[in-house]
């Protein structure tokens, strides 16, 4: 049975974090009758435990609901939820490409933020029709009129008749549903043309293999179609096609142009079904793929080691399983003198890193030692070759290096004018190159900077928040590589170099960072029975030193008949504490010390 394209609406919701995107999604699903409120787990679309905890969407999700409009017609709504973090910008762009329109949610109290703008521009770039919704009108501080003006002035889209809603309290959701029907265009595309379907996500299921999430642009796909992934070249026969119920997959006969759904085809690995790739019919292929595909590369690398060396195999298995579902996760074996056997892992950003780390620890019950994350530097050697450096320990000898390059991003920071000073000072400290300021309205401005990636991946967002009392918002995209004077900072503990603590740093900051690193390690490393010098060195020259003083007294004065069991517990605790340490030479180093470099800017 052919589906009437004019009765389909494919859309997404874009918003700044916390402006109510997921809550509105929930209300749309609930009010279109797919689920009753009782059946809903809060925020159906963010269904990973971690996503709910962090209040952000990590993976794209989609859901199909049916809406009976006031004109009496039934419409199919395909709501595609997009990841909410800059680490996943490419996934966001592919999800947008799968839509025909977008709902822009703006908080009635906070107005437009950096992410709002970035997402709107991204949506407009994809030729999406965007209509705004003013959320949280029930807040005492809500100023819908001001926000409407702001949207019209800053973004330049019509906002006078924007629905004014409270997603949380279900106010005026019907206006949003009607606006979806009226303002979002129906999909186009010829069901009889050669197949072109855009992959916007894929998940691995141990029974069915990879489940490909896609939007059919042209043509039709059904069970038995031999499909080909145009970028990766993988070819498989379709086992099932279907669409997305709430939290379940509902098989159907076919998916034709304009429809959103999934296919399964005994594909073993998500690396074969990369986000952005085009699915076509192997027998009747499209002449060219959909535009915009790119292979995303990790931006941040770190070493991950099992705290217990015997768990190396478990860590390998866990990474392998996670990679089944996450094509952007990279790992390869590496060996550290200090930490033994482990993996160098690559991530889209620090959030991605943290998510993987948490999943390894929670879902796979692994205790990990993680080294400081590093961006990818380009090392141009005197022999004319170039290496992409992902592990600081592999930096060639200074004599072999002609010059180095580091990745930079273009960043946009939205800030109220009173905080422009402190934020500009922060960007200055982080070696930012000022590009300009745009005033959004009298009290708010958009600062544009070029910033080195390694200055922002760790704690820039926190610093930004603390220097603007939470008001600044931030978005960035990778711009390219620039030449930079970088050096490797080595750390010596008790006169032994600890490879896992080395990091690459801008030469001008080396002394300061070295000093702070020594101070931080002094706090982290427990006192031993001997004095432990902690030194920072660049090119063999010591630039900073701290000393962990020796313990001179550690004794229990009283231990009589009634104290013995307690005494034993005390000793056990002492021994247990030691187990969570790594032995480097004759010094015990706590696992978290290897992340010390991340905490150098803490007060």
């Amino acid at each position: 049975m052919a589906v009437d394209q004019t009765k389909i609406r494919n859309f997404c919701i874009i918003a700044h974090i916390d402006h109510g995107k997921s809550t509105l999604a929930d209300r749309i699903i609930e009010d279109t009758g797919l689920l009753t409120r009782r059946e809903m787990q809060e925020q159906v679309l963010d269904n990973m435990e971690l996503e709910r905890e962090r209040g952000i969407t990590i993976k794209s999700q989609a859901v199909r609901t049916v809406y009976r409009a006031k004109n009496g017609e039934e419409y199919i709504f395909n709501l595609i939820d997009t990841p909410g973090h800059v680490d996943f910008n490419y996934e966001v762009s592919r999800s947008l490409a799968a839509c025909d329109g977008a709902i822009l949610v703006v908080d009635a109290a906070q107005g437009i933020e950096a992410q709002t703008l970035a997402n709107v521009y991204l949506a407009l770039d994809h030729n999406l029709d965007v209509f705004p919704v003013i959320n949280k009108i029930d807040l005492p501080s809500a100023e819908p009129e001001r926000v409407i003006e702001e949207i019209e002035d800053v973004i330049g889209i019509e906002a006078q008749d924007a629905p004014q809603i409270s997603a949380k309290n279900g106010i005026n959701i019907d206006q949003v549903l009607e606006a979806i029907v009226e303002k979002i265009p129906a999909p186009q595309g010829d069901p009889n043309a050669p197949l072109k379907a855009l992959i916007f996500d894929s998940v691995y299921d141990s029974y069915r293999g990879v489940i490909v999430f896609m939007r059919v642009m042209e043509g039709t796909v059904r069970k038995g179609t031999r499909v080909r992934m145009m970028a990766t070249g993988a070819v498989e026969e379709v086992v099932e096609v279907g669409y997305f119920g709430a939290g379940q997959f509902i098989p159907c006969d076919e998916l034709s142009a304009g429809m959103v759904g999934y296919l399964t085809a005994s594909i073993k690995n998500v690396r074969d079904t990369r986000v952005g790739d085009t699915v076509t019919d192997d027998a009747n292929p499209a002449s060219e793929p959909l535009p915009g595909y790119k292979k995303v590369n990790p931006m941040v690398y770190c070493g991950m080691y099992p705290a217990d060396g015997s768990k190396y195999g478990d860590l390998r298995d866990a990474l392998e399983k996670l990679q089944l579902n996450d094509a952007s996760l990279f790992y390869e074996p590496e060996t550290s003198i200090a930490l033994g056997f482990g993996f160098r892992c690559g991530f889209l950003g620090l959030l991605h890193l943290e998510i993987i780390e948490e999943r390894l620890e929670r879902e796979y019950n692994l205790d990990l030692v993680t080294t400081a994350p590093s961006v990818v530097y380009r090392v141009h050697k005197t022999d004319g070759t170039m290496i992409e450096l992902t592990n600081p320990s592999n930096l060639p000898q200074p004599t072999e290096i002609d010059y180095m390059e580091e990745p930079v991003v273009s960043a946009e920071i939205m800030v109220t004018t009173e905080f422009i000073g402190p934020i500009m000072a922060l960007c200055q400290e982080r070696r930012g190159v000022y590009l300009g300021t745009e005033y959004i309205e009298q009290t708010r401005a958009l600062l544009k900077y070029e910033l080195p990636l390694n200055e922002i991946i760790y704690d820039f967002f926190d610093a930004l928040k603390s220097r603007s009392r939470g008001y600044a918002s931030f978005d960035y995209e990778l711009k390219g590589y620039v030449k930079s004077d970088m050096v490797k900072l080595d750390i010596l503990i008790n006169r032994e170099e600890v490879d896992a603590l080395s990091f690459i740093v801008f030469e001008g900051n080396a002394y300061e960072r070295g000093r702070k690193m020594c101070e931080k390690l002094k706090e982290e490393i427990p006192r031993h029975l001997f004095e432990i010098p902690i030194q920072a060195a660049v090119g063999g020259k010591i630039i900073a030193r701290e000393t962990v003083k020796a313990v001179r007294k550690d004794v229990l004065a009283k231990c009589y008949g009634g104290d013995i069991t307690r005494k034993k517990k005390l000793l056990e605790k002492q021994k247990e504490g030691k187990k969570r340490m790594r032995q480097i030479g004759n010094v015990e180093i706590p696992q978290k010390a290897f992340m010390s470099v991340l905490k150098l800017d803490e007060e």
């Binding site: 029975l529 001179r552 007294k553 004794v555 008949g561 009634g562 013995i564 069991t565 000793l571």
Partner: protein, 394 residues
């Protein structure tokens, strides 16, 4: 191993009463009226009798009594017991057990809580050793840590103890107290040495959670680690010069006067505990009595008390537990442990179990090994927590 043939155990009696809680004290003790004390003493005497009887009936005892080489009355302040209460307790002890003729019978006392009459009575009952809590000769410091007596009170009590004929007297002093200077501690040691007790215990303050001193810790100045080390050095030096040999972390004695009862704890000998909260080790089981006085007394007032109901915790020791204890308790004593004795007691070669770690620790200057003997060096003793943890087995 046939454990039923154990026929000797020391006895600890817990007297949970004091005039007032000291600011550093986390022992099970509280002020109480005469009635409460009488009731407790009666319960204690009953427990002693019942345990004695039940042991006598066991195989291996054949109706005989358990031999007791030492008794220790601790608290609290055991010297709050009236002569008749003490008599009740000692009567029960002698009835239920075979107290050795040369038994060491120690009793803790606090200055100001005894009279000549009481002292004569205790001595007549067999108390052979008196342990007096002085802590410091500085009255302001004594007041600050919540002691009920002055230095002068101590002097009077000490003299009374001697006059009553006690020839084995121990004095407790404390160091690393908040506000204590090296000069104060030096004076305390000098004063104590002048009186020539047979035994001196010198404890570094341990700040225990829940004590008033702990609650107030932020307003107090405690000596830093360097100063603590200096306190200890002063203690070792002055006491050694005065003829006291350090035989355990905090204990010093003139030749022949080391506390036999306490040595037993560190050497792994059996002991029975009576009274609330009292711990015991018997036939490779560590146990501890209930801590609630009401529960304890009420059970012992029943027509047929259930002795098991008086035990709150029971911890059977495995062979590994016992080997660990031998090390972390035995090494507290300056004479250390004997490899041969270890082998004889546990049926396994010392070096097979601990040879490797012993070698490492000796190389680090923490242990001294000579032939059969393994002991802590002076530095090893200062940091003994670090060393002893290494002897825990997986």
């Amino acid at each position: 191993m046939d454990t039923a043939c154990v026929k000797e155990a020391a006895i600890y009696l817990h007297i949970p009463f004091c005039v007032r809680k000291c600011a550093y004290c986390d022992f099970l003790s509280a002020p109480a009226g005469d009635d409460a004390r009488r009731r407790y003493t009666a319960a204690l005497a009953r427990q002693i009798r019942l345990v004695g009887e039940s042991l006598s009936q066991r195989r291996g005892f054949d109706g005989g009594k358990l031999r007791v080489p030492s008794v220790f009355l601790g608290g609290g302040t055991p010297s709050l017991l009236s002569p008749s209460e003490a008599e009740q307790v000692f009567g029960a002890l002698r009835e239920a057990f075979a107290i050795a003729p040369d038994a060491e019978i120690s009793m803790e006392m606090n200055p100001g809580t005894v009279t000549a009459e009481k002292l004569r009575a205790y001595r007549a009952l067999g108390v052979s050793r008196v342990s007096l809590g002085l802590q410091s000769a500085d009255d302001r410091l004594l007041a600050a840590i919540g002691r009920i007596h002055t230095y002068e009170d101590f002097g009077r009590t000490y003299d009374a103890v001697r006059e009553a004929g006690f020839t084995n007297v121990s004095v407790d002093v404390m160091s690393s107290l908040p506000g204590q200077t090296l000069a104060m501690h030096e004076r305390t040691l000098a004063e104590v040495i002048k009186r020539a007790p047979e035994h001196i215990s010198s404890y570094s303050l341990i700040l225990e959670e829940g004590t008033p001193l702990y609650e107030k810790r932020d307003q107090l100045t405690f000596p830093d680690e360097e100063t603590e080390v200096a306190f200890d050095a002063l203690t070792h030096e002055m006491l050694a010069a005065a003829g006291y040999r350090r035989y355990e972390v905090s204990n010093y004695a003139k030749p022949g006067y080391a506390c036999r009862h306490n040595l037993r704890y560190w050497q792994g000998g059996d002991y029975l505990g009576f009274g609330i909260g009292a711990a015991g080790l018997f036939e490779a089981v560590r146990y501890r009595a209930v801590t609630d006085r009401e529960t304890y007394c009420a059970e012992l007032e029943k027509a047929a008390p259930d002795l098991r109901a008086l035990i709150a915790e029971r911890l059977p020791l495995s062979l590994n537990d016992r080997m660990e204890e031998r090390m972390f308790l035995g090494l507290r004593c300056t004479e250390g442990i004997s490899k041969a004795r270890f082998a004889a007691d546990f049926g396994t070669d010392y070096d097979r179990i601990y040879g490797k770690i012993t070698g490492q620790l000796a190389a680090e200057g923490l242990l001294a090994v000579s032939g059969d003997n393994v002991r802590l060096t002076a530095f090893g003793m200062d940091v003994s927590n670090r060393v002893l943890a290494e002897f825990l087995l997986e």
